[in-house]
């Protein structure tokens, strides 16, 4: 089970080579620690390298400088042991598989016996009971994202990575998904990194919000979120929430942040 996994991005940086040979510094020097069972949200303007940070943690990119470790191991080790869960903005469900088969996929990839009870439980948890046999093309955008989150959670990963999972949804659906994600996360505190554009999504879901500057990416500010859990949507109307929201929005609007 999870609960004991801590993540360290130790002074990592990432450069990209352009076609003309110029070097672009996407991430300059970031030190970020995510404690065991902590939910950290990363916000910043587009192109600030926040997705790059997440991709380094997901073993999809190698840092140019510094080191990424999860409980002292490289992220590749974690993915090789099937202990990572991920949901992207593009739901990336396999269109030829049913909802059920998509959620089963991590078991198949890990060559483990498919735990049908676990799959049924997760499908119910994300509110898709009755849609087990549907294919992704028959679902709405919000439902697809729920399947993709169920898929990320099905193996009880130690680390959950969410890259703008609700970025393509309308505001109402997005809020609803935030509530559901909180409810799901509540059942099993997994060390989580959420990358998002939305300040209130970050505040509502996370224990700590980290603000990044525009290119080259650096950490500008960190804010601890004081609200207890489970959080009621009412919390978003409180004065404290608005104060933090203003503070974070202001940090995002600093001149150094302009993309």
């Amino acid at each position: 089970m999870s609960g004991g996994t801590s993540i360290l991005l130790d002074h990592v940086g990432k450069d990209f080579e352009m076609d003309d040979g110029r070097k672009v510094v996407a991430v300059e020097d970031v030190r970020l620690e995510i404690g065991a069972g902590e939910f950290v949200a990363l916000i910043g303007p587009s192109g600030c390298g926040k997705s790059t940070l997440l991709r380094m943690l997901a073993a999809l990119e190698q840092p140019s400088r510094g080191r990424v470790t999860v409980d002292g191991e490289a992220p590749e080790e974690l993915s090789r042991n099937h202990r990572l869960g991920v949901a992207f903005q593009d739901h990336a469900l396999l269109p030829w598989l049913s909802v059920e088969a998509n959620v089963e996929l991590p078991f198949r990839i890990a060559s483990r016996a498919v735990d049908h009870a676990r799959i049924a439980e997760l499908i119910a948890l994300v509110g898709l009971k009755g849609f087990e046999k549907a294919r992704p093309s028959q679902l709405s955008g919000g439902m697809r994202q729920r399947v993709s989150i169920a898929r990320a959670l099905v193996l009880r990963p130690d680390v959950l990575l969410l890259d703008e999972p609700f970025g393509a949804l309308d505001a109402v659906t997005r809020r609803q998904m935030n509530l559901e994600l909180q409810r799901i996360w509540q059942e099993q505190h997994i060390s989580t990194l959420l990358v998002t554009h939305s300040v209130d999504e970050a505040l509502f879901l996370s224990d700590r919000v980290v603000v990044m500057s525009g290119r080259p990416g650096n950490i500008l500010k960190e804010v601890s979120v004081p609200f207890g859990r489970p959080r009621d949507p009412e919390v978003m109307r409180s004065g404290e929430f608005h104060r933090l929201e203003d503070e974070l929005t202001e940090a995002l609007e600093q001149p150094g942040v302009a993309a």
């Binding site: 073993a59 593009d90 294919r135």
Partner: protein, 253 residues
């Protein structure tokens, strides 16, 4: 209940009108001898074709040719899919296999046919050319199909810790299926062309042989009958594969 949308209904109607117009024009030109003696009316060809006395002749020729078409189609298909998968998995082979296939394909099969007759036998050169034609189409289709899975899908497999084999079986192969099925569809006429051309060069049985001998002996209805059988076989197989293709595409949307 079968529901046909207005658009589909229209398509079917236009298709039927087109075919009827084509056959009507064929008959009209033939009856009035607008294109000379070598253009018989459709009805004359059909009467010749279904004359009971020629039943054995056509059945023998058709089964000989169509079994060459079928054998070449299967052999070329398997070869194309398997070699494309090998090229996909073993990257040093990728360039070489692709180039070799293109070079072979760029040689006209007419030029290869005599070689096959010398190397193999007269009987098998039809199948060999059909195999070669089908192979190239399926090699290309499979190769592009295996590259069709999106970056996001690959990322998911990487993050979930997939090995190479699982990635091929669970992601790349299913993602390649629509391209492979399209390849199989376009390979149908290629297999027919290959087999018939192969038979022109001295096969002892088959529709291709029938065409050549009918041409040389000015047996016009016989020539058209052989062409009609070949075209009907090709069109029907092509239509069947189109149905399969539609089913697969619907599933993969």
């Amino acid at each position: 209940m079968i529901r046909i949308s207005k658009r589909r209904g229209q398509d079917i109607a236009y298709g039927a009108i087109g075919i009827a117009a084509f056959l009507g024009l064929w008959e009209y030109i033939g009856v009035n001898q607008l294109a000379g003696l070598t253009w018989p009316p459709l009805t004359a060809v059909l009467a010749f074709l279904f004359d009971p006395s020629r039943q054995t002749l056509f059945v023998r020729a058709t089964s000989a040719s169509f079994s060459m078409v079928g054998a070449g189609y299967v052999a070329g298909g398997v070869l194309g899919i398997v070699l494309a998968a090998v090229a996909h998995l073993v990257s040093p082979l990728k360039e070489g296999l692709g180039r070799l296939s293109s070079v072979i394909h760029s040689i006209p099969s007419i030029a290869l046919a005599p070689l096959f007759i010398v190397l193999l036998s007269k009987e098998w050169s039809g199948m060999a050319i059909a195999t070669l034609n089908v192979y190239f189409i399926l090699f290309i289709a499979t190769q592009s199909g295996l590259a069709a899975a999106t970056r996001a899908h690959h990322d998911v497999f990487t993050v979930l810790g997939s090995n190479r084999f699982t990635r091929l079986i669970r992601l790349e192969a299913p993602a390649a299926l629509p391209a492979i099925v399209s390849g199989l569809k376009y390979a149908v006429p290629a297999a027919f062309i290959g087999a018939i051309i192969g038979e022109w060069f001295g096969a002892t049985r088959g529709l291709g042989l029938l065409m050549v001998s009918a041409m040389q002996n000015f047996q016009i209805p016989l020539l058209w009958s052989a062409v009609l059988i070949t075209s009907a076989g090709s069109l029907m197989s092509f239509g069947l594969m189109s149905l399969v293709e539609r089913f697969v595409y619907a599933r993969y949307r």
